[in-house]
Chain length 459, copies 2
């Protein structure tokens, strides 16, 4: 094993690099599953995918062999043969088979057939849908995105902190949580605490680490128990939350833009075959949108200016919620109008009214707005939310009292503003939102290997 | 921001590379927290850590300034000054300060003082302990280990699959689980299922992906609600679970050994200052143990042979459990005796009796033992557990019936052996066990940023 056998990915790579000398007529043992099997006169063609990349290898065999012609889609095979370079042809190489071993035949009602199946149906078979073109590409891109997120932070000196999943920390204003109990008759017994639940964000837990390592981030699962059934919400999703000391709101926008452009660029570079498929079959506008994302400078707009733009816009555009005044918590329709129609690209919206943002955001001198910043992008709306954090103990305590929060539960967090504090800022990125942006998939369930949503979970 | 300012890490790196020309007399703005402040006659010395690496910068200042001499440990400062190279001296450079700005003074009863504090005490202040030498190094190594695990798999063509945290899958034999409920009055309402709990392993969920991508892995949090309070168990911990198609038990041992040696080597290379500290202050034998781990070939021993060795050993060695016969589920004392006393290094123990191993392991022809393999290492005992998976539908079903398992709940898993199956193998590595191996820390709580254990959780 250990990667020593040649893979389909390596063959395509060598052809692209014009590194052909040891390729032609090379012996190969190919193990994979069958994507297609058809005969033309005396020869048959098996499309075999070995999992190393999106594209298949075409295996040529003689049709005399009944055992091979009857191999069904999805079956697994071992092919022994030789590589035949056919550069300039419909595909740049084939495999001339010497032997095809059928390892596991699928049964006749195997659900993935050549006819097109709906995403809704495929969601009912999460153990098979990754064998279709679309989901094969989606989960490969998911891997590449995950890795390149880690790569960006690692190469830029950030420390990954595994903030806890189970927490007893209060998280007011963050919506419904899932309770965690070892024994339902004595829910507080296991941890000696009541109100133990699944995390909704690692931010508060990661902040102390930023005050030591300066640049830190989290990347882990987060949970919301909201009873909403939309294409954009899941009960379990992954979040990335960088936190940077000695950094203000302007600085965190610089980082956010640099980071997002890096990952979009690197993932596209790493998965070219998958993106070709998305451009052609999933979303015709995707390529242009991603090009713009990589190349255009993100606009920076104050919330109050955005309100004025929307007020003006409603003279000619119909909004569902059209009571547009300072203080409005913008809906998806407003966000998308701004990013899609007005700025035609990603925008940072800054300096929101304090009443619609979290307690920890740094107050501006006007005492009305906070140093919070959302990143809005076409087709998605809000992609990231971030802020400079309030670093004054007195101001933070004052704001928490105004909001009638449970101060003792937050004492550890408040104390960070006393003992060797520093200004700091951070943001949160919903991983699956980023997946939707990258792939053009429009339902969050189709970016998750096993989606967990309201009334909707398998295994 | 964006990494453009020079860090302490970069200075040490440049000195090590003998890349000195733009270093001497270079202007620097250093932001960090104070680890020490002392005066000697007319000059004072501040040790400042900027979070970029384990080592501090020594800042030299004139003691005339009362404001600087009174800066307490843990306070944050901004130092403006110039780098003064002192190669060959006690440290290779100092910073001659022009200005020291006190950003946040710690209060007088700040808990981290120069005197030595116990790990037990430090566990009560998880928001501060990473500012001590030990934990500063531990969490930096944790980051490096995480990254290099991803790096190994990525560079070897594995696809990272985010298996679900919340699951309704049965997991018999894996001990107690935490229930997840959105509403304790109607626990089954949210997902339309009862028995919704936190995952104990991603293995079953990742197997279907191995049958498509061939090489896959999980890396995420896992949970056990066992009511045990030991130094080796946590209720929440992270696991790595690679799964490889077309791979047998021998193959998975090859991968395991290659993988573990890679990460040990790369993490030590990436964090030399931190390991120097562990060698000197945490565990005097650590360096030799890690050298051996990297360089020695891991022994491969059959369980039945190990039993014979232990039977022989008990003539001269006292075991707590000394009823040593084929069928015994080895305890930590037996495992450690084998790896520490007999083989003096890591060993793979293979071909366990079926009755002490999980239902999914491939049966040997003797119908008595399975193709399961545990990796045992000195000081830790079991580090990884893995196996070749049973790929025969009939044998797997037979074994599950023998164990009186709830077959309908596993139908999706059984079906993987029917429709385009392939032989496959995998293993699981407890991330925190690996941390203990690497750092010499002996309590799992001291490898986790916010440990969650029985009766033991903060925030």
């Amino acid at each position: 094993m250990l990667n020593k056998e040649i893979t389909i990915k390596t063959i395509y790579q060598k052809i692209q690099d014009n590194d052909l000398q040891d390729l032609h007529n090379r012996e190969i043992v190919l193990k994979g599953f069958v994507r297609n099997n058809r005969c033309l006169g005396q020869v048959g063609f098996l499309s075999v995918n070995d999992g190393s990349c999106f594209l298949n290898a075409q295996v040529v065999y003689k049709v005399k062999d009944e055992k091979i012609t009857s191999i069904r889609l999805g079956s697994t095979v071992i092919v022994k043969g030789r590589i035949n370079l056919t550069i300039g042809g419909y595909q740049p190489f084939e495999i001339e088979s010497e032997e095809v071993i059928l390892v596991s035949q699928t049964n006749e009602n195997y659900p993935l057939q050549k006819k097109k199946t709906s995403f809704d149906f495929l969601r009912t078979i999460p153990t098979l849908r990754m064998k279709t073109n679309t989901f094969n590409a989606v989960f490969r891109v998911r891997d590449s995105l995950s890795y390149n997120i880690h790569r960006y932070f690692h190469e830029n000196g950030y420390v990954w902190i595994h903030t806890p999943i189970i927490t007893a920390n209060d998280c007011e204003g963050e919506g419904q949580t899932f309770q965690v109990v070892a024994d339902s008759k004595h829910p507080e017994e296991y941890f000696n605490k009541d109100n133990v639940h699944l995390t909704v964000s690692g931010q508060l837990h990661v902040e102390p680490f930023a005050l030591t390592y300066q640049r830190v981030y989290t990347f882990g699962p987060t949970f919301r128990a909201e009873k909403s059934n939309t294409t954009r919400h899941a009960a379990e999703f992954w979040m990335i939350e960088p936190e940077v000391a000695w950094c203000d709101m302007e600085g965190i926008m610089d980082i956010e833009e640099d980071f997002l452009k890096f990952v979009v660029r690197e993932v596209r570079k790493e998965c070219p075959q998958d993106f070709e498929f998305f451009y052609q079959r999933v979303d015709k506008d995707l390529k242009k949108r991603l090009d713009d994302f990589e190349n255009k400078k993100f606009a920076r707009v104050k919330y109050s200016d955005a309100i004025n733009i929307l007020k003006e816009a409603k003279k000619t555009h119909k909004f569902e919620v059209d009571d547009i005044e300072f203080g409005l918590d913008l809906g998806s329709e407003h966000e998308r109008y701004l990013t899609e129609e007005v700025f035609k690209g990603p925008i940072f919206l800054t300096d929101y009214p304090k009443d619609i943002k979290a307690f920890y955001m740094k107050m501006n001198d006007d005492n009305k707005t906070v140093r919070g910043v959302d990143l809005l992008v076409p087709t998605i709306g809000e992609l990231c939310g971030g802020s400079e954090r309030e670093d004054s103990y007195d101001k933070l305590l004052g704001r928490m009292n105004e909001l009638k929060m449970n101060i003792p539960a937050y004492e550890w967090y408040l104390d960070l503003r006393k003992n060797g504090s520093a200004p700091h800022s951070g943001f949160g990125l919903g991983f699956e939102r980023m997946m939707m942006l990258l792939t053009g998939m429009t339902n969050i369930r189709d970016t998750l290997p096993y989606p967990r949503c309201y009334k909707d979970m398998l295994y």
